[in-house]
Subunit: 561 residues, 2 copies
Amino acid sequence: MSHPHPELEEPPALPKGGVRVVPLGGLGEVGRNMTVVEYDGRLLVVDCGVLFPEDHPGVDLILPDFDYIADRLDDIEAIVLTHGHEDHIGAVPYLLRLKPDIPLVGSTLTLALIEAKLKEHRIKPYTLAVKEGGNEKLGAFDCDFIAVNHSIPDALAVFVKTGGGNLLITGDFKMDQLPLDGRITDLRAFAKAGEEGVDLFLTDSTNAEVPGFTTPERNIAPAIERVFQQAERRIIVACFSSHVHRVQQVLDAAAAHGRKVAFVGRSMLRNMGIAAELGYLHVPDRVLVDLKKIDKFADNQIVLVSTGSQGEPMAALSRMAAGDHNTIEIGPGDTVLMASSLIPGNENAVYRVINGLMRRGASVIHKGNALVHVSGHASAGELLYCYNIVRPRNVMPIHGEWRHLVANGDLAVATGVPAERVLLAEDGVVVDLVDGRARIVGAVPCGYVYVDGSLVGTTDETMLKDRRILRDEGFVTIIVVRDADTGKIVSGPEIQTRGFAEDDEVFDKVRPKLEAALEEAREKGISDTYQLQQVIRRAVGGFVGGKLRRRPMIIPIVIDA
Amino acid sequence: MSHPHPELEEPPALPKGGVRVVPLGGLGEVGRNMTVVEYDGRLLVVDCGVLFPEDHPGVDLILPDFDYIADRLDDIEAIVLTHGHEDHIGAVPYLLRLKPDIPLVGSTLTLALIEAKLKEHRIKPYTLAVKEGGNEKLGAFDCDFIAVNHSIPDALAVFVKTGGGNLLITGDFKMDQLPLDGRITDLRAFAKAGEEGVDLFLTDSTNAEVPGFTTPERNIAPAIERVFQQAERRIIVACFSSHVHRVQQVLDAAAAHGRKVAFVGRSMLRNMGIAAELGYLHVPDRVLVDLKKIDKFADNQIVLVSTGSQGEPMAALSRMAAGDHNTIEIGPGDTVLMASSLIPGNENAVYRVINGLMRRGASVIHKGNALVHVSGHASAGELLYCYNIVRPRNVMPIHGEWRHLVANGDLAVATGVPAERVLLAEDGVVVDLVDGRARIVGAVPCGYVYVDGSLVGTTDETMLKDRRILRDEGFVTIIVVRDADTGKIVSGPEIQTRGFAEDDEVFDKVRPKLEAALEEAREKGISDTYQLQQVIRRAVGGFVGGKLRRRPMIIPIVIDA
């Protein structure tokens, strides 16, 4: 398989009649999915999502790097959104800040979700709603939209036809053959695209490492049913606030067992409101109640559907577990169903929530002890079907870490795609499709863009590096004030420290060493500020490094007063 | 089941003839296992392990809180060590620092491992080696030692008989019925203890949530065999440096396939050296080679057995993945087998290593795509066997988070143990066994003790809280120098910042606000240092909080020069 060469250079100009594909996010990580397709000088953007930070202290969100398209915004025909998950739509507000009139193309639910989000950013977008089976000519890009099944309704794959070749882009999908809403991934449309000729197949790699087939959504029903049969008091279900099907299952079970359902958490209320209004969520009569009104019902008549399934500290469930939720107090007899996956990195937070809930006497049903969640992505077995049905000329795995992309590429090769036509790219790697053959031709700058409070793009790696040092080691500030004229030290050394040996004891030991060093510096006639800072840094650093085996950030400050 | 009451108080004096059990670690967390048994004024300590930090920035290790026994060290008959894992022996050096002559009792391998560790701390311990089937009278504690099967050889359960009742303490164990070394958990001895009467059964909760039975160790063989059959170049196996059985499997496979094995990583070399010397690891002839000498062999004749299966950044494997290991360079054709579990919280680090290895062209076999590891702990099905064989009068689940303890307690109840005789304790909770009935009678102070560089116990929650703030938000130091006599500001405000808006731009905006505030303070005649600090804190905090929606640590420093 063609790996991205470490020494990739600026790509050459795109040959006339060629199609260029540049992933600006989602290849090499799970999240911030964004792919730019270029043909005849025009651009089509597919998805524009966020990545949730991992070891990026203080960072709220990570965006795709728009740098590559920043000065070509006028060339963008449209942004096609495959579905409404954050990692596919979350960065749209930040792109539209640069140019608010770029049209958004997607299914009704997807557009409703992004419009709600844009409202918070005070942006009113131009939108074009499309349906499976529909076709739209977006400038030079002739797009067929194809139904795919995923863990959110109304997801679409897009078949992009250009004069330079045809691209089939799946977005996130799986192939549940008996989905709850009956809306299957349209393999007949995949087959038809294959007949027309798929020159480049960009397909979801998330579960490519997982052997076999993803468990059908309805196989969770028994676990839910058991909860409703056995729960003595309240039932609290935590799941992703966009998982309409999961919530539908809960609503139906509640209706069957004569329980009332209240939504908890801002995003849950907002998304389910939208889903219900648009008819994606079917709310049985008199099942839904307002959280404020649940006191009117007995505990064993109540179901709460809440956010916080990933242990997010601010979410409703975490606050219940910590015992500081303003209205809901967890107690013995309550049953909590954590009906979601466990995103890597969230384990400790989630187990903290589970322990907290159980400590309060609740019984907790979760991934670890019951079948309460299935993935929204196609496993290896399903992907093999796709390759055999589509028979693509070239393949470019998308959506995943390197290990996922490699696993997906291996599946393509196993079905007969020549290894050299499977392109393992990463963010910023440029793939050109010319005369039916796709090749990696270079790379463009493509970094992480951090949203940090209201600061976008100003937080950089240096700052994160500093935060990691501060996190692990804390800091020591040493201040000396010199007489501006004589250069004599008139005050200090004043030592301030946080996150490191905050008892003065330590510095009773270092202070004399420091004073001696300063005295020596004076005798040597060292007056240069930087040199004096070095003297201080060495004196303090040597002591804490040697004696305490610690490396706090040391900040010497010399002030001339 | 008897839960620990939040309002637990100082326990009353232990009634004459009663037995007191106080867990100082391991109940409420996975790690730092330590249980103190008291009878007739004397103490027996069972295990003394460390906990590895989770969200404790900068902390190297977490120890049990020795406070409860600190002034009773002379009452300790011995420390019984059930097996050689860090979470059961790792804190022994810190306890022996307080009193080096407390005897250590354990199996030959367990003692060898702790002695090697103590050597690094320059402590020569008093040891008493025991065997399964053996008995030792440790003062008032008459101890039978029972073979148990675990993911390290030579693990023991201990049956502690006293005038006040008998305790069966399993330590970590599982019930593999066809273990690689043939050493099974001795259920006949469990049955015999049951016949004599087990008044309190303290049993491993780690896998109590997991339904059914733990997969036998030998079921991993096919995955290992496949690797040896298919690997084109080097094979690198990463596993826990104490997992003698896993390494034995690799050595045998290497011998069968004519490959040489080199150990990589300090702890791997040390532990396998000990295991081989004592006859727990059987090294086939001419299979082992020194890492320095592997260049003499072809790549397809080499197996490296390395540390770093948890993605520890400093471990050999992580450095190979990052491409900065001094001798081993990973390349296409290399096969890496990660033959270990994935400890919650390590996911991101481990996947980073896997992606790094694959990016260099290696194929990686891991938990996610093959059966390469089985747990070392008994699952629910095995624990049910134990309860039915032992028929304990009282049960106290040990080794686990709250969710594990609860699950284990439920199993005891399911086998007929009265719920009120299942004691869900946590660290520091005091359980008294009096006249055959165990009860929670109170709690003793029991905190986390942090090892932080060479500092033990000085790092506290305040400091960790500061580190978390610094991690997420960074800090701003504002220094003003006043004339000691006139109180007039002669220098500053000097602004220093790290991990937060390190571009001065931000502070060009805040500086005038700050200066205005200081001027206003001067006019109001505010001279008190603390008040002035508050003025500075408000001026800066208000700006960054409001405008930037950030909460950096703000440190105002007023110096009188």
